[in-house]
Structures are given as structure tokens and as C-alpha cells.
């Protein structure tokens, strides 16, 4: 058997750096030497791994950006929710226009629907419409009742 090839020869063989004659000599030895075959197989595995490293798809940067954006949105949302808010005031409710009171325009004594309109409950005096909402019935100023 010929002398074992130098360690670099195994690398050069798998990388295709040997000349034709050098490769033939190398192959002739490896075919007869199981120890060198193992070294060559090991070198071949490294070579294949390097190919798979170079062929591997590039890292997904877009995914990282999406995760960072989602985290940012979550932080902003939390900050917004944690902001102090003014208590709802009652002023707005108080300023709502009042609904006109139901008023019976007929003379109360004649009003048959006084009870139905909620203007009269049994046992209480019937309110007079002038007393209920005098201002609403007439926008004209009341004549002053000055005694002559």
C-alpha cells in the first residue's frame, strides 16, 4: 500500500483542487485503505454541510420586523389605556332641555283626562293650568296687577 495521503489532500479532493493524476493516485490509495476512506467520508460530509449552509434560505427579517411592530403597538395600546381620564360630569345632563310638562289646557274642573294625564291624583286638589306652567302658555309678558 502506498503512503497515506497528507490531510490536506482529502480536503483538496472533495473541493476538486487536485489534478487528474493526483486524483487518480489519491483514489487508488483510498480504495485500498479503510482508514483513509473514513477520513474522506468525513471530509465529504463537511463539504455537503457547507453546501447546505450556503443554500439555506436567508433569515426572515420581515418576521422580526412584524414581531417588533406588534410589540410596539401593544405597548402604545397599554399606555393609551393607562392614561388618566376626566370623570363624566353631570352638567351635560343638567343642561338637557326639559320636556314640556303635560298640561291640560281645558279648565281643570272640566278636564276628564286630568287623572290620565297625571295632573290629578284622587284626593288632591285639581291644579289649575295657569298655575302649572303659565310661562309656557304665553310668551307675552303678564300684565302687571298694579292697584290704581
Amino acid at each position: 500500500m502506498t503512503q497515506h495521503p497528507a490531510p490536506d489532500r482529502f480536503r483538496d479532493y472533495v473541493m476538486g483542487s487536485l489534478t487528474g493524476a493526483e486524483a487518480d493516485t489519491f483514489e487508488a490509495h483510498v480504495m485500498a485503505c479503510s482508514a483513509c476512506l473514513e477520513v474522506l467520508q468525513d471530509e465529504a460530509r463537511v463539504e455537503e454541510q457547507l453546501h447546505s449552509v450556503a443554500m439555506a434560505p436567508p433569515r426572515r427579517r420581515s418576521r422580526r420586523i412584524a414581531i417588533a411592530l406588534a410589540a410596539l403597538v401593544a405597548c402604545l395600546g397599554g399606555w393609551y389605556l393607562a392614561l388618566p381620564r376626566p370623570e363624566p360630569t353631570r352638567r351635560s345632563v343638567e343642561r338637557l332641555p326639559l320636556a314640556p310638562l303635560p298640561v291640560c289646557l281645558r279648565a281643570p274642573s272640566r278636564c276628564e283626562d286630568a287623572e290620565r294625564h297625571g295632573l290629578h291624583t284622587p284626593g288632591t286638589p285639581i291644579p289649575r293650568y295657569e298655575d302649572a306652567a303659565p310661562a309656557r302658555l304665553s310668551l307675552a309678558p303678564k300684565p302687571s296687577k298694579e292697584k290704581p
Binding site: 463537511v46 449552509v53 443554500m55
Partner: protein, 180 residues
């Protein structure tokens, strides 16, 4: 390795009478890669060379018969060679039932050969520390281009010697990292 030599060794007359320069160039460029991939699966050198030759003959035959629409090398040859290796192992099992053949299982070796995600990440870390030219040479030689050292050197603007030196240095670092 030429088409004529392949055809003569396999008794494939059709190719021997009509040597195809395109196939010659393809085989010259990718034959070593096919042999190395079979070696990586645990086959011995003789078996690897035989299967690589068989692979080329099959591909040439299929192409002549019009059964190959696209020839994307070396991927097509690598897949074909791997398939032939599995078939050879299956045949041996049928011939010698109960006896474990000397050849290891090529399918079992695939996981060892292909670098895992962690390996890839570690190797990328090493590549990141290399010079841009070294990285370029590496990706030209080992990447999808599968360029020869000469082609890569010419493309990057380096001498062949310098390109090989860079590649060997980077390869040694990557080897160390992948062997951890």
C-alpha cells in the same frame, strides 16, 4: 469524465457514437460533487463512482428519450444518485435477507449530511466575521451558482491561488464550528 468514457464503460452505444459536448461540460463540472455527496452518505469510493456514472448515463438516456423537460444541475444528478444508492441497498437486502450489508443506509445518512438550523446559524456567525470577498467566494462556490474555483476567482477579481487560499481558510473555520 466524459460522455464517451461513460458510455464505453456502461456499453451505452447511443451516446458513444454521438458525443454531446453539452453533457461533457455538465459531467466535468458536477461529477465530483455527485461522488462526494454519495461518499457523505457513507458509500465507499468505488460504489460512489459507479453510482455517479450510472446516474449520468440514466440522465443522458432520459434526455435523449425526451423524458427530461428541465435539467437543473447538480440538483437533478444528486437526487438521482441518492435514489440509486437507496435502490442498490434495497436490492442487496433482497439478495442477502437477514444479513446486514456492508454499505450503510444512505437514507439514514441524509440527516447527518444536511446542516441543521443551529449549524446553519453557527456557520453564519463564522461567515459574518469573514471578509466580504471571502464570503463572496464561498457563496459562489457553495451556493446555487455552484461555480468552480476558477470562475469564482475571476468573478471576484482574485487570482485562483488567492481565492483557494481564502476558501480553505474559511472552510477550516466553518469545519471547526460544524464539528462542535
Amino acid at each position: 469524465m466524459s460522455v464517451t468514457r461513460l458510455a464505453t464503460s456502461a456499453g451505452f452505444v447511443g451516446v458513444a457514437t454521438t458525443p454531446d459536448s453539452a453533457w461533457n461540460a455538465r459531467i466535468t463540472k458536477h461529477h465530483r460533487r455527485v461522488v462526494v455527496s454519495l461518499l457523505a452518505l457513507g458509500l465507499d469510493l468505488e460504489q460512489a463512482q459507479e453510482l455517479a456514472q450510472e446516474t449520468w448515463i440514466l440522465l443522458i438516456e432520459r434526455e435523449r428519450e425526451g423524458r427530461l423537460e428541465r435539467i437543473k444541475l447538480p440538483g437533478l444528478a444528486l437526487r438521482q444518485a441518492r435514489y440509486l444508492a437507496l435502490e442498490a441497498r434495497r436490492r442487496r437486502r433482497e439478495v442477502l435477507p437477514g444479513e446486514m450489508p456492508e454499505t450503510p443506509d444512505p437514507a439514514a445518512g441524509v440527516d447527518d449530511v444536511v446542516a441543521g438550523r443551529r449549524d446553519v446559524a453557527r456557520a453564519r456567525g463564522v461567515l459574518a466575521t469573514a471578509s466580504p470577498r471571502a464570503r463572496e467566494v464561498f457563496s459562489l462556490v457553495y451556493g446555487p451558482r455552484n461555480a468552480s474555483h476558477r470562475e469564482a476567482a475571476a468573478e471576484v477579481g482574485l487570482s485562483l491561488q488567492r481565492a483557494r487560499q481564502m476558501l480553505c481558510e474559511l472552510r477550516a473555520q466553518l469545519r471547526q464550528e460544524l464539528k462542535r
